[in-house]
Symmetry: C2
Subunit: 130 residues, 2 copies
């Protein structure tokens, strides 16, 4: 497969693009992270979401520790070429490192961010080797 | 209403946060843009999406020219505090400056970005004064 499609992505100054993972069934936005050229290529080639971790400064296969892999059904690029939306299946039903389904578990309500989603699994049991 | 909730947002080096507009009914991601403190506050206060235009370097009330306003039903913040997801109603059914419903009209297919969504209205007729 040609990789010229990667050249149509408008990489930022750090060589990154914003990537949104959306649940392919429910449509819920589960998380937003960054991809570099290598991680986007790997995502397309393997069908499993790979990101670039800015905090750890390395390639990050989502779920590599937790097992919460993301199977990618579709990749879309926006008009500006600087944001990707992926339709995914989320293994374990947990995308957030807090043990919740989605990273977007806080709603603005009466002038405060209110946590409205439950923790599905204790993060200590997700990330501790069993 | 207190504005201390704005301090919980993790503004980047330019004082911006990523904002995702998602159709409240269909769940489709319509567009992604940036907000500064002022635009997020205005969005919350008025219930109409306001962004920060990086290209024009000014506050941008979405739809100010096209009439394609976005009525905001819900604002969520992610675990890191650096991305907002809004549930919106899109006036005119067009969020993209190309005249399409969504900015995400290109799908990766066989190693190329394929345009799969139709233009709903000619951009020339959207942005030209009638």
């Amino acid at each position: 497969m040609s990789t010229s499609w990667l050249d149509e992505v408008k990489w930022d100054g750090q060589g990154l693009v914003t990537a949104i993972a959306q649940d392919a069934t429910s449509g819920r936005v589960l998380m937003v992270a960054w991809m570099n050229r290598e991680s986007l290529l790997l995502t397309a080639q393997t069908g499993v979401a790979h990101y670039w971790s800015r905090s750890r400064n390395r390639l990050w296969k989502k779920g590599e520790e937790s097992g919460h892999l993301q199977t990618v059904k579709e990749l879309r690029l926006d008009c500006d070429g600087d944001v990707i939306v992926m339709q995914i299946e989320q293994a374990g039903g947990i995308a957030c490192h807090t043990g919740r389904e989605s990273c977007f578990y806080r709603v603005l309500n009466g002038g405060a961010w209110e946590t409205v989603d439950a923790v599905r699994k204790d993060p200590a049991s997700i990330y501790r080797p069993s």
